[in-house]
Point group: C2
């Protein structure tokens, strides 16, 4: 359906814009950090907004794992049109969410050819997870890892306060 | 549904980003023009991409009016979750599309209070229409007008080649 494409196209435009704007600046290293954090911050705010709409009629979660399951199913399906394929946890606040066909990487050819381009296209989604969790009362550090496109792993480490 | 919200939140982020980036530059007037054209260009590319997916299994259109009707119904519904409320034409290449509750303006309080903020939130959608039409072989000039939020009129003038 054309419906899913809207988010994918918009996301591509955002990444292109952020990197284009920064390309005019001098310091290359600083540049890369700023781009990732700009995209991450955008994702964070979108994640906050989305989860708020999403959970307004929801029961509360019985524990963190219950909440993560909700994130992997309902939240992920709404945004990326599929569920997370695999959720693992060490039961000590670390979760690994694996998506075997991550929507924002499917425009690339599969395999390792464009692997170095991947981080650009994951920063927004890391922020999205962090924003959603934050609005549900969990501060976290979220990182992403790709070893073979279009599969992707998000690692979420809950910060104990 | 939370589904519609994703596009609205992303659009807000894009507008904020484009205006923030430009706020660091000197010339205020030039600034405003650049922001609008950046947003319009992003909309154009998204419109092109969307209409391509959308029309790949579609019959061809019998005339421009037929095409505009498709844009007002199917295309608009997919993106903005409602149809255009009113379509008028002078049968000489000018079309006026009126949306009485335009999705990207509903976050504002109704009325005239934030009227001067409106153009920022219409540039992307003007580009979207222009991009969609362009991919269907019609070059156009698209402008938008708001007199009372959240209602909005888009004027499309088809350019004869």
């Amino acid at each position: 359906m054309a419906d899913d494409a809207l988010f994918e196209f918009l996301h591509m435009e955002i990444v292109a814009l952020v990197y284009k704007e920064q390309a005019t600046r001098e310091d290359i290293d600083k540049e890369r950090v700023t781009c990732v954090s700009t995209l991450d911050a955008m994702g964070f705010r979108v994640g906050q907004g989305m989860i708020e709409r999403f959970t307004k009629d929801c029961p509360t979660f019985k524990d963190d794992l219950d909440l993560m399951k909700f994130l992997c199913k309902d939240f992920w399906s709404t945004i990326f049109k599929k569920q997370i394929d695999n959720l693992r946890t060490n039961h000590q606040g670390t979760y690994v969410l694996q998506d075997n066909k991550f929507a924002l990487l499917t425009q690339f050819s599969s395999g390792k050819q464009y692997l170095e381009e991947a981080p650009k296209y994951l920063a927004f989604s890391c922020g999205l997870i962090r924003g959603a969790l934050s609005n549900l009362g969990l501060e976290s550090v979220v990182t992403a890892e790709v070893s073979l496109m279009p599969s992707c792993k998000f690692q979420v480490v809950i910060q104990k306060l």
